[in-house]
């Protein structure tokens, strides 16, 4: 039997999740406190980069899923023999 890795234990994964969420809160807080020299008005909106990053990614996943509805095929579609 292989020895289990530190990352295999659920409680460590949970710890990483907590650290990650903590980092999210922290970085938004720092962003709110620091002067960020915005170039555009929209940058001055609270936590702009945070919500914009999240929304942009969610939108891209939705668009990708939309494309998938039309364009997804089994990976044997081109039926190439590997000879």
């Amino acid at each position: 039997m292989q020895k289990t890795h530190w990352l295999d234990e659920p409680r460590h994964v949970k710890l990483l999740w907590r650290l990650f969420l903590g980092a999210l809160v922290l970085i938004v807080a720092i962003g709110a406190l620091l002067p960020l020299h915005p170039y555009f008005g929209i940058e001055a909106v609270f936590g702009f980069y945070s919500w914009f990053g999240f929304v942009a990614c969610a939108a891209m996943i939705v668009v990708a899923k939309g494309f998938a509805l039309l364009l997804k095929r089994p990976d044997t579609y081109y039926r190439e023999r590997d000879d």
Binding site: I27, E43, Y49, W51, C57, Y78, R81
Partner: protein, 560 residues
């Protein structure tokens, strides 16, 4: 002008021709030293070094300025790192082909005129096709033919453009090209085909993942970045390029998100990254061009690193689908860490090379008050983390445990990865040497609190989006149709249809001819056949009588 300077590209190409006959340590030494020799030669090229008369033109096959030296430098560096990684490659063709490929890419970067540029441009096609071909499987052979087909088409378009341009302007100089007639448009299209711009973009994700574990590392570096170089030299500030670039950014992301093949994810992400560079060239300010050039430099290194990491996985497991991988961090720590460093660099994480290069392009958009462009570039940056920065390492090295426990790859592969991972971080921490190589003076300061914090916000929340929406990203045994569908299915169907129509026409003509010939034969047969009137047997008496009649008639006619 000194004629004594050797051409670094030709040195590499000449070396490639000797390479197949070398064995053991001699081969290793040649593989590592040839690119370094080329690199040292690149730095002796300043101004027009070689000039020759050809037909009515003065060609400048070897010319260097800051921009061309920057690209030639990273091409040589890439040949060294890729060669190191590929030392264990059993194919006797791949490494020499890769060196021809790298040498001709250097040739493109150092070409002072359009004719020389075109010659090296086409030589790159030969080298890269051989790299693909040398993988030896039927699949890679067919992919290499499709690859070749698209590049020959692109080459033809480019050739038509260049000849038209030379005929119009009377000059072969490779300088800025104004888009004022179809010839210049053809040149632009020819360049964009190699950059991986839609609609022909599918050649890239179709072909690159079919190369060997080491071949894909070379392929990722030269063709698209040589195209970035020529676009930067020929078409800086062409607004259309901003939109083409942004299209490439999002096309790359969407397709990479849906992809299951680990190296095809990275192939789509090449298109995505080149999109940032093309957009930068379109913006065209000094800041934007510096950003595009710097990004090409750092991109070659971290993309090669990512493909080395994927190549190591392929080498050790013979598997390439995300759905069959996972949990490899247990037994491949070096590949995992190097893959993560490459992934952080492509995502422009602070302290990696991507952070100090890509941000200049966004900065240029902000300086130019291009709000839409800037928003799209920012969304694209978030998407890079999503499709390459997390997706690649997550699905290959983590996610569900596949139960595979391959060890890290052999030393040559490990050290090549470590070397490139080191470069990714070193450039990220100490950007000045890279900035000093850029075509224009750099006033940009990457490490400000505002930049670090906003970038971390963007990336960390993209990460949150990835894990929050992970159920929608689970890999399935599917592909997503791309434009190669047009030439693999539609054009193939058209070709089959044409062949069928031609066959039918041929059969019709054959049948018609047969019918005509048989009716002629029947006619002949009816007149001259066995029982026909001409072949009837006549009695001797009858014959004698008719001869008598004829002679009498003759006699009568004679005397009248």
């Amino acid at each position: 002008m000194t004629d004594s300077v050797l051409h670094p590209g030709l040195v590499l190409i000449a070396g490639a021709l000797v390479l197949p006959w070398l064995r053991g340590h001699l081969r290793t030494a040649a593989v590592l030293l040839l690119p370094l020799l080329a690199l040292s030669l690149v730095w002796q090229v300043d101004g027009a070094v070689w000039q020759v008369r050809f037909l009515d033109y003065t060609l400048t096959p070897l010319q260097g300025d800051k921009l061309s030296r920057l690209f030639a430098t990273v091409f040589a560096l890439m040949a060294a790192g890729g060669g190191w990684f590929a030392l264990r490659q059993k194919s006797r063709v791949e490494l020499p082909a890769a060196f021809v490929y790298a040498g001709s890419a250097i040739g493109v970067a150092l070409a002072g005129d359009l004719v020389t540029m075109f010659v090296f441009w086409e030589l790159m096609v030969v080298g890269s096709t051989l790299v693909l071909w040398s993988n030896g499987s039927g699949k890679s052979y067919r992919a290499s033919l499709r690859y070749l087909m698209i590049h020959l088409l692109g080459g033809m378009i480019l050739f038509a453009g260049i000849t038209g341009h030379i005929a119009q302007t009377g000059s072969v100089d490779f300088t800025r090209i104004a888009l004022d007639s179809p010839a210049q448009w053809l040149i632009l299209i020819g360049f964009l085909v190699n950059a991986g711009a839609p609609p022909l973009s599918a050649w890239l994700p179709d072909a690159y993942p079919e190369a060997s574990w080491s071949g894909a590392v070379f392929l990722s570096a030269f063709t698209t970045k040589a195209a970035v170089y020529v676009l930067m030299r020929g078409f800086p500030g062409t607004e259309l390029l901003i939109w083409i670039g942004l299209l490439m950014v999002f096309y790359g992301i969407v397709y990479a998100l849906l992809e299951n093949d680990m190296r095809r994810i990275l192939a789509y992400s090449i298109v995505n990254q080149v999109g940032f560079m093309v957009a930068g060239i379109g913006i065209g300010t000094e800041m934007a061009l510096n950003g595009a050039a710097a990004h090409a430099f750092t991109h070659i290194i971290y993309k090669a690193l990512l493909l080395m990491s994927a190549g190591s996985v392929l080498y050790m497991t013979q598997r390439r689908k995300c759905s069959e991988l996972g949990g490899l961090f247990h037994s491949m720590p070096v590949s995992t860490i190097c893959g993560i460093i490459g992934a952080l660099a492509i995502s422009s994480f602070p302290l990696t090379s991507g952070f100090v290069s890509k941000s200049m392009i966004s900065q240029a958009a902000a300086d130019g008050h291009l709000l839409t462009v800037w928003l799209l570039l920012t969304a694209g940056s978030a998407g890079v983390f999503l499709h390459a920065g997390i997706k690649f390492p997550w699905f290959v090295f983590f996610q569900k445990d596949s139960g595979l426990r391959p060890s890290d790859p052999p030393a040559s592969m490990r050290w090549a990865m470590i070397f490139f991972a080191f470069l990714c971080i070193a450039i990220g921490i100490w950007a000045e040497p890279l900035y000093a190589l850029l075509p224009y003076a750099v006033t940009y300061v990457p490490y400000t609190w505002a930049h670090v914090v906003t970038q971390l916000q963007l990336l960390l929340f993209s990460g949150l989006a990835f894990f929050a929406l992970l159920p929608y990203l689970q890999r399935t045994l599917t592909i997503t149709l791309d434009t190669d569908w047009v030439w693999r299915k539609v054009l193939r169907a058209v070709a089959t249809l044409i062949a069928r129509i031609m066959g039918a026409v041929q059969a019709m003509i054959r049948r018609g001819a047969q019918r005509a010939s048989s009716s002629v034969l029947t006619l002949v047969d009816s007149q001259y056949g066995v029982d026909s009137s001409f072949a009837r047997t006549w009695s001797i008496r009858g014959m004698a009588l008719w001869v008598l009649v004829l002679l009498l008639c003759y006699l009568l006619l004679y005397y009248t």
